[in-house]
Symmetry: none
Subunit: 413 residues, 2 copies
């Protein structure tokens, strides 16, 4: 069985966006052992798209069409394939209801052309889009299987895993089950990780190992094929254990979709513990990451962004003398920020962040220097010193996430 | 003149790498006004590559072949095109000398197959590779121009600028200059914007208009081709003026690389004014966006994330009775948050954010409902009510950026 990928979008042809979706599909196909010999990008043009589809049909059985499902008149992917196959489009009632609700929430009338987003190829199945409004479409004909998916990666990614993967396995008609587990690590670079796992990556064939970089975390995906879920999991378990053993100090959990802040939120909720923060260089990034998660209000009452020195004194009661003697980017200031913040809101934990985000150095401290304090009720405060590389926002993100890692490690104890 | 891009590499088909080279070429073509209707990826397979080249020759005059120039036996791009065109390969003496020197430096004998990297299409020109060892190749036939370039982006990028761009300009045979200007807007959807500019987008040929979505802002890029920079700018000016006139309430500045928070920071610095914020639903996102910008410390002393109601009372002094009567998601609470925050840090401006980020509704208010207060020294406080659609983090980002827009509009007055 051969598959090929057609991305539809003038924005790719103009170089405005890079075609990461093709990579995501290609990785899935490779994992499933499906041969993919071609990728094509074509604009939102029915004639050229039809030609490209026709060529693909001559050489592949599974055809992916990605992009061009939006509400604007140049979004024509579904319509073009329907015309080409001489079938009709049908409306998915669930997707229609979602469109109506979305416009109600915005308190705006729904333009009629928006309904096109709820359409799928008649005789096939709609593919639910959990994130966005454009429904996908799956159609199996005698000779071909067509998957139509929306272009935005955050919609497209989950649909690929939840909607496409099981249908591909079914098409493959094997009893084989493909199971993946992702172990996630923070604070180690991808190349250093690959080096530490080199022998496993090079020699393992089932399961296979591959490394990934996402949101400053690095992941190791371990993928096994077997006759059952249990058999695949049994193949994965010892390799996963070995990977975790080698990279133990950096481990932050399992699961492709989870993130370090989510792990911390889960651990805090489990303990019914609370946390606050006083942020200087991170400027609210730690709190924004935490409150970006549903359920944050259970563990986080609030906190401070204390950017200027006098605000550290005014709002947190940091002794200006301490800042003058130790320097604002110092372990004692990080400790005092954490301790004062914890005391003021009477939380179980508190983090204090001070450092140099750049572009300029501060008080002689080079860009990237960061001190993070972790205060805990009835325990001594811990302060770590970090030196981050990268530009301003990389440093800020790494610093905020290092605060989560510090708390994660504490919550494991 | 039409161009198309063929990337050659099994590693792209397997999803191991993403095809960023196609984007880099596409951007260059777009800037030069050369139409690119197709991108293709094909493996290191002479037969399939020949088919793809043949198809490309039928629809485009300029053909890019990227990748497959290395020393291993599966690197066959140059050989395949030579065979297809029935011409020979020639050796570039400079590239041969570089290969010899490289191996001498490493004190290793040079395997004979390494010399393939020094080959180019006979009758054409070698394209110097400053970074790597594989030379590129340029060939102009009666009907087509072929560019063969190495795959590694750090080799490929400089070659594109130094070797390819001048040859493309020569092919175009014009003295033409391409100039673009991007006008940015916030608070209007891309489809509504496209609707309001529909006649301009449809009828304009020089300059052309295109809409873009980036970081919740929508942009209109106006691109003109003319004999000089000044002439191109003169073509753009009246169209830009008309676009700004139609979308005036949403305008937030010019420039592809800038963002709304940057515009606000610039305006605040120009006035030597300061701002603080008290954030509930946005949870630090406003302050994190602001402090993400270098120079934020000049305008921002610090602020609060007041998530829980009792923290709004404790840290900002919001009357619990007000929250009880008006509800926490209300105009009076947004107003009080802004006013109290401004007073406490004695800033020129302050923003207060309260709303429902979801996933659950709050106090009977639906997800997306948001009140933003803007307090200013010696002026009455303004409060806006918004209803944002989307998931939790979209709502939070839109709310934070709407705070920037509110302040942007005030700073224009």
């Amino acid at each position: 069985m051969k598959a090929e990928i057609i991305a539809v979008g003038t924005e790719i042809l103009l170089g405005e966006i890079v075609n990461t979706n093709a990579q995501t599909v290609a990785q899935l196909l490779a994992r499933l052992g499906i041969t993919a010999q071609y990728q094509t990008v074509v604009g939102d043009n029915p004639q050229r798209l039809t030609e490209v589809i026709t060529t693909a049909e001559q050489r592949s059985q599974v055809i992916f069409l990605i992009g061009g499902l939006g509400p604007t008149p140049d979004d024509l992917t579904k319509q073009t394939l329907a015309t080409h196959l001489q079938i009709k489009l049908a409306q998915d009632p669930q997707a229609v209801a979602k469109l109506v609700a979305w416009h109600q929430q915005k308190q705006q009338p729904m333009p009629a052309n928006n309904l096109a987003q709820a359409e799928y190829l008649a005789g096939g199945e709609p593919l639910t889009n959990e994130i966005g409004l454009a429904v996908g479409s799956y159609l199996k004909t005698e000779a071909h299987a067509y998957f139509i998916l929306p272009g935005p990666p955050r919609e497209f990614g989950p649909m690929l895993r939840q909607q496409v993967q099981p249908r591909l396995s079914q098409l493959l008609g094997r009893q084989q089950v493909i199971v993946s587990e992702m172990a996630r690590f923070f604070g180690i670079g991808e190349s250093l990780m690959a080096e530490q796992l080199q022998d496993l990556i090079a020699t393992q064939t089932n399961p296979t190992l591959a490394t990934y970089l996402k949101h400053f975390e690095v992941g190791v995906r371990i993928t096994a094929a077997a006759e059952s879920q249990a058999a695949a999991e049994a193949l994965i378990a010892p390799v996963l254990q070995e990977v975790k053993r080698r990279l133990a100090p950096y481990y932050v959990g399992l699961g492709e979709e989870r993130t370090l802040p989510e792990e911390v939120l889960t651990l805090l909720r489990r303990r019914q513990a609370t946390v606050t923060a006083a942020e200087s260089l991170t400027g609210g990034a730690f709190q924004a990451l935490l409150t970006g998660l549903a359920g944050a209000s259970n563990v986080f009452p609030g906190g401070w962004v204390t950017y200027a020195n006098q605000v550290k004194a005014q709002l947190l009661g940091i002794d200006p003398q301490l800042i003058a003697t130790a320097g604002v980017v110092s372990a004692p200031v990080a400790q005092a920020m954490a301790e004062q913040a914890r005391q003021l809101l009477d939380t179980d934990f508190a983090l204090g962040f001070t450092g140099v985000a750049g572009p300029d150095s501060l008080e002689g401290q080079p860009v990237g220097t960061t001190f993070i304090g972790l205060a805990e009720r009835d325990r001594p405060t811990q302060v770590i010193e970090c030196h981050f590389a990268g530009v301003r926002n990389e440093i800020r993100q790494r610093a905020a996430l290092s605060g989560f890692k510090l708390l994660y490690d504490r919550l494991q104890q």
